[in-house]
């Protein structure tokens, strides 16, 4: 078994503590806001100048002046604030944002991350990725465990240009939750039906098994067919 994209987002949402300030990247990270428990106050930041961002705007109720960093029309929650770019990036670079949830192409055993240049991409673009990776307190990566060709994305060393060195704290994939520590990678959780050996098979660097390593506690609706060949 493995997890759906929503399942990966669900795991992250469950781990975000009350009162945390969080920036969500594009892709799987965007889904995280939908799974935060209703009784938990978590503040979502958008780098174009929003703190306290709510769900996407309903069709017909879009405000043309209110978009998120992915250029979608969004809403504000009570208690939200809006501000300019220097203020927004002071929140990021100044270490005030607690968590950045980012997609990644590759993560190395030492926490190096590559997510800004895809192979074969001819026109480069970095956006706020480097500011987030360098500045935010904890970088959480969400991604599929392997490429669509079945190759590991968690590597001894990144092959693509780095977004930031040694920045990743925790990796959430469709197969596992892995912590990046000074002692190397530590396997915390594995997807239902897998075991640590199955996760290791698809991970290039050696994984240490946490003493309390366990099968994920995740509702069946987030289970998917095994993506990994």
């Amino acid at each position: 078994m493995s997890l759906t994209r929503e399942g990966i987002a669900y795991l992250v949402a469950c781990d975000l503590p009350e009162g945390s300030y969080v920036n969500l990247g594009i892709g799987i990270p965007t889904l995280v806001s939908g799974f935060v428990p209703r009784d938990r106050e978590v503040f979502f930041h958008s780098e174009n100048g929003i703190l306290g961002m709510g769900p996407l705007a309903e069709p017909g109720h879009e405000d043309p002046d209110l978009i998120n960093a992915g250029k979608q029309y969004v809403t504000l929650l009570p208690g939200a604030s809006v501000f300019d770019h220097p203020t927004s990036f002071s929140m990021i670079r100044g270490g005030h944002i607690n968590y950045a949830v980012l997609g990644a192409l590759e993560v190395a055993a030492n926490g190096d991350m590559a997510n800004w240049r895809t192979p074969g991409e001819k026109v480069p673009g970095v956006g706020g990725a480097m500011d987030l990776a360098f500045g935010v307190q904890s970088v959480l990566v969400t991604m599929t465990h392997v490429t669509n060709k079945g190759k590991p994305k968690i590597l001894n060393k990144c092959s693509l240009p780095l977004t930031a060195p040694r920045c990743v704290k925790r990796i959430y994939t469709d197969m596992a939750v892995v912590d990046v520590t000074l002692e190397g990678l530590i396997l915390r959780e594995f997807a239902p039906g897998l075991d640590p050996a199955a996760v290791q098979k698809h991970t290039e660097p050696p994984l240490r098994i946490a003493p309390d390593c366990r099968e994920m506690d995740i509702p069946a609706r987030f289970h998917a067919a095994q993506l990994t060949p």
Binding site: I50, D65, I67, D84, V123, G125, A129, M130, G135
Partner: protein, 233 residues
């Protein structure tokens, strides 16, 4: 009596010269002075250096200016935005120059210019290919990259309300790059949804004080600029 208002965007862009550097406000549609850009297309200045987060969309506004071959260089953080086809086509043909800058560094370089600073050290990009060739310094055990201020000859922005003194007030996510950009250029023009009498803007709601602004034009939003934008982050 001081009067910074103009009747048309055409007058606001009249002095743009060949080779000028233009700070272009907005992130997606909010804060983007779309009609001033259309006026600039008609005005004809070329060899421009445009400073903007993305590369615009399609063949209007910034995308149009690039499509017309009028932009020599783009300084941006996310020029590969979906819809930025005009830039992407020329870039792949080697017909437009790109300086790629992380988004927070771009905003801070503009802010530094407006604040009279000679630059700053940022941790962003240290040890990556975007720091190649740049001065670095280890401060309290952490590596930082030196970044220079980014000045404009012109800055064009959009705000929500403005008055004849150049005071501006923004709505929602319109402030973005506009707040620093108006401080960092020799000539600054803003298009606003509504021009109001002096005194109507509550001093507590003036986000850009008039000292930074040279010209204000009231512009009715064109429905074209109310469409869902295709520009990516």
């Amino acid at each position: 009596m001081v009067n910074k208002t103009l009747a048309t965007c055409r007058e606001a862009v009249a002095n743009v010269f060949d080779g000028a550097t233009i700070l272009l406000g907005g992130f997606g549609d909010p804060g983007l002075p779309g009609q001033m850009l259309e006026a600039l297309r008609e005005q004809g200045a070329k060899d421009l250096t445009m400073v903007h987060n993305g590369s615009g969309g399609g063949t209007h506004a910034l995308g149009g200016l690039i499509h017309d071959g009028r932009v020599r260089k783009l300084i941006a953080s996310f020029p590969n935005n979906p819809g930025g086809t005009s830039f992407q086509e020329l870039y792949l043909k080697g017909q437009i120059e790109l300086e790629l800058v992380p988004q927070g560094t771009l905003a801070e370089r503009i802010r530094a210019a407006g604040a009279g600073l000679g630059g700053f050290f940022t941790p962003t990009a240290a040890g990556t290919e975007l720091a190649k060739g740049k001065e670095t310094r280890v401060i309290d055990g952490r590596e930082y990259v030196f970044e220079k201020p980014l000045h404009g000859d012109f800055a064009f922005v959009r705000a929500y309300r403005g008055d004849r003194l150049g005071n501006l007030s923004y709505r929602m996510a319109m402030r973005n790059f506009n707040v620093p950009m108006v401080t960092a250029a020799k000539f600054v023009a803003a298009e606003v949804d509504e021009l109001v009498p002096v005194g109507d803007l509550d001093p507590e709601d003036v986000h850009t004080p008039g000292i930074f602004v040279d010209r204000v034009v009231e512009v009715v939003r064109h429905p074209k600029y109310l469409e869902i934008t295709t520009e990516g982050r």
